[in-house]
């Protein structure tokens, strides 16, 4: 008899123990995947992105989550490598059951994961620049991106050249996804502006000396040079130019948007012109600009938490995660509903004012860029 009571009471205890979560069930967590190049040669992109994502998640959860649901980030490091990126995305979808993914950091890795996204029907918000990631939009139903468009960056550069009467230019691009996509855009849009590309050179992602390529450019008689890449080569090109006594203006892509690049270029970096988001020159953005408030608060939060200057790339993580969080707030974590919600988002972010639509999965136009110039290791807005 005693034994029976014991068994019975044990059974009840066990039952109670297992049923507790159902009795006092909290809302289920929202699982979001993040795929960033935290280490490797593109860690200058991935590290601020990871920092930003973690900072935002902490802030949201401290304030009680999204409608009471805790936000759980699953952060994967791609090391900037295509295979790792694909594996990470597969793992996030199959094992972690995420409802959406932000990242990858690089254009190459973003392109590599597109087939997986297309068949698994999970929305992805890429932090990479190349436009092919979201075009043609019919084939990219589940894919969005937050950085400004390559073609808009090219147009801003060519606008500036046109204003200065520069016709013959040279281009030098990295052989990465971002560099190759930029090279195509530079060549394609040149005709529209009647710009003549007299030299077209490339370099590998790990190259540390571009003197040979620059010498060819010098001999070709170009009146300006555009460098398009994301790797540290961006600060080596101006130094090599200085060595060869080249005095033509140097334009760089929006990939130059990290103050470390300008610092690394040193004295040779003075006068570099590039299209960049307003985040880089927050102090010089006028008070009445709709982005001003977002920019100031993100910059202050980031710099207070991580003791390093804010960069465009962290801003991409800020934009993509907040767009996703806003959608989660409205429709919950059903991937299909999230996708539809993101497609109709209007959002004021660090990169610009987003207006997503079924025909535009980037949502920014060329006003998102400001022409910036390097002056004594700082970015300043270029005045006409």
């Amino acid at each position: 008899m005693k034994k029976r009571i014991l068994i019975l009471s044990m059974a009840i205890t066990i039952l109670l123990a297992f049923s507790t979560p159902y009795v006092f069930a909290e809302p289920a967590d929202y699982h979001v995947g993040c795929v960033f190049a935290v280490t490797g040669s593109a860690s200058w992109l991935g590290e601020p992105e990871r920092n930003t994502a973690e900072m935002i998640a902490k802030e949201i959860n401290a304030a009680g989550g999204i409608n009471g649901h805790k936000l759980v980030l699953h952060i994967e490091d791609t090391q900037g490598d295509n295979t790792r990126a694909v594996n990470a995305v597969k793992k996030l979808i199959k094992k972690d059951n995420v409802c959406a993914i932000i990242g990858p950091s690089r254009s190459g890795t973003s392109m590599a994961v597109l087939p997986v996204i297309a068949e698994s029907h999970i929305p992805l918000i890429s932090c990479a620049g190349a436009e092919v990631i979201v075009t043609p939009v019919e084939e990219r139903k589940w894919v969005f991106k937050v950085p400004q468009k390559d073609s808009d960056a090219v147009k801003r550069i060519y606008d500036d050249m046109a204003a200065k009467g520069i016709k013959d230019i040279a281009i030098i691009t990295g052989t990465t996804g971002f560099g190759a996509a930029g090279r195509d855009q530079l060549k394609e849009i040149a005709a529209e502006y009647k710009i003549n590309i007299v030299a077209d050179e490339t370099y590998g992602p790990a190259d540390t000396d571009m003197t040979a390529q620059l010498l060819k450019i010098k001999n070709a008689g170009a009146k300006a040079l555009v460098n398009w890449s994301i790797v540290p080569a961006q600060s080596i090109v101006p130094q090599n130019m200085q060595q060869l006594k080249m005095t033509i203006p140097l334009y760089q892509s929006h990939g130059f948007g990290n103050i470390k690049y300008a610092e690394a270029a040193g004295e040779a970096g003075n006068g570099i012109i590039f299209p960049g988001g307003r985040l880089l020159a927050v102090d010089t953005v006028p008070e009445d600009n709709p982005q001003k408030k977002v920019l100031v608060s993100y910059k202050e939060d980031y710099e207070k938490n991580f003791h390093e200057p804010v960069s465009t790339f962290g801003g991409h993580a800020y934009d993509s995660l907040w767009i996703l969080v806003n959608a989660l707030k409205k429709v919950g974590d059903d991937p299909a509903k999230l996708r539809d919600e993101i497609e109709n988002t209007h959002f004021v972010g660090t990169a610009g004012v987003f207006n997503f639509s079924p025909t535009d999965h980037c949502g920014l136009n060329k006003d998102a860029f400001e022409m910036l110039m390097v002056k004594d290791g700082k970015f300043v807005v270029l005045k006409d």
């Binding site: 280490t39 490797g40 040669s41 860690s43 200058w44 590290e47 052989t175 050179e201 490339t202 370099y203 590998g204 790990a206 190259d207 540390t208 000396d209 571009m210 003197t211 040979a212 390529q213 010498l215 060819k216 001999n219 540290p232 600060s235 080596i236 130094q239 200085q242 060595q243 060869l244 006594k245 470390k260 610092e263 690394a264 040193g266 004295e267 040779a268």
Partner: protein, 301 residues
Amino acid sequence: MNHTDGTFIDVLQFLILGIQRGSIYAMVAMGFNMIYNATGIINFAQGEFVVLGGLMMVTLTMAFNLSIVFSFILTVLFVIVVGILMERLTINPVKHPTVLRLIIITIAVSIIIKGVAMCFWGKGSHYMRHFSGTAPLEFFGATILPQTLWIFAILFFVVIAYIIFFNYTMTGKCMRACAINRDAARLAGINDRKMVMLSFALSAGIGAIAGIIITPIIQMDYARGAMLGLKGFGAAVLGGLGNSMGAVVAGVLLGVLEALGAGYISSHYMDAIALVILLFVLFIRPSGILGSSEAMRLKEF
């Protein structure tokens, strides 16, 4: 300026660039050879010594604002200590040192050094000021950075010091004896284990010097070691493994081929051009440019 002049200046510019690259490959290759001669193994952590030299120099000059000369000496000493520790802690205690075992140990050490360097210096690229300004100098119409002159001068000095050490000092001669025949050297009363330690110290020192002088030009990050090591290894093989003068010639040659390849064929295939030529040399002369084929047949690896 007429066309021929322009071509001449271009060639000169590529040559300067190539010799500058090649000088670093040469120094890395010399480091490989020293350890190869003393132990018969390839030290795959050689590239890491270069990285440590570069990064340490950046810290001392940029963060602590020490003078170039003082930081130079401190950095070289620091990397030498790392080299000695590596030998004492990982190579010396191995009970049955076979070539394969030791090589795998050096690979492990290279991964550890890389990881530790990443923790200390972070993942970004580090830059430092040039030794004496960045204003380029004119040289027959081509331009040359003062830093490049420093690189040439220091390579020259290292080669001279190397020759004096190995030909005119007792310790140097002992090391050569060990390289030629370790058992016979031991019978003659030479402490061969000490010579192995010394070879690690010296090769770490040369690696550090290479890292220090190239960092102002190419910047430095924790992951550079593998590529520098590979190119240096190429130079060492091309020059004939174990032959340090061959390594210097081959290193400079490799650098020049790369520069000319990038300038006249395509910057896309720069690395491939140099390595294809390396393959051809090895098909025709497996012992390397200056290596002796007879000596090679006697070696284990």
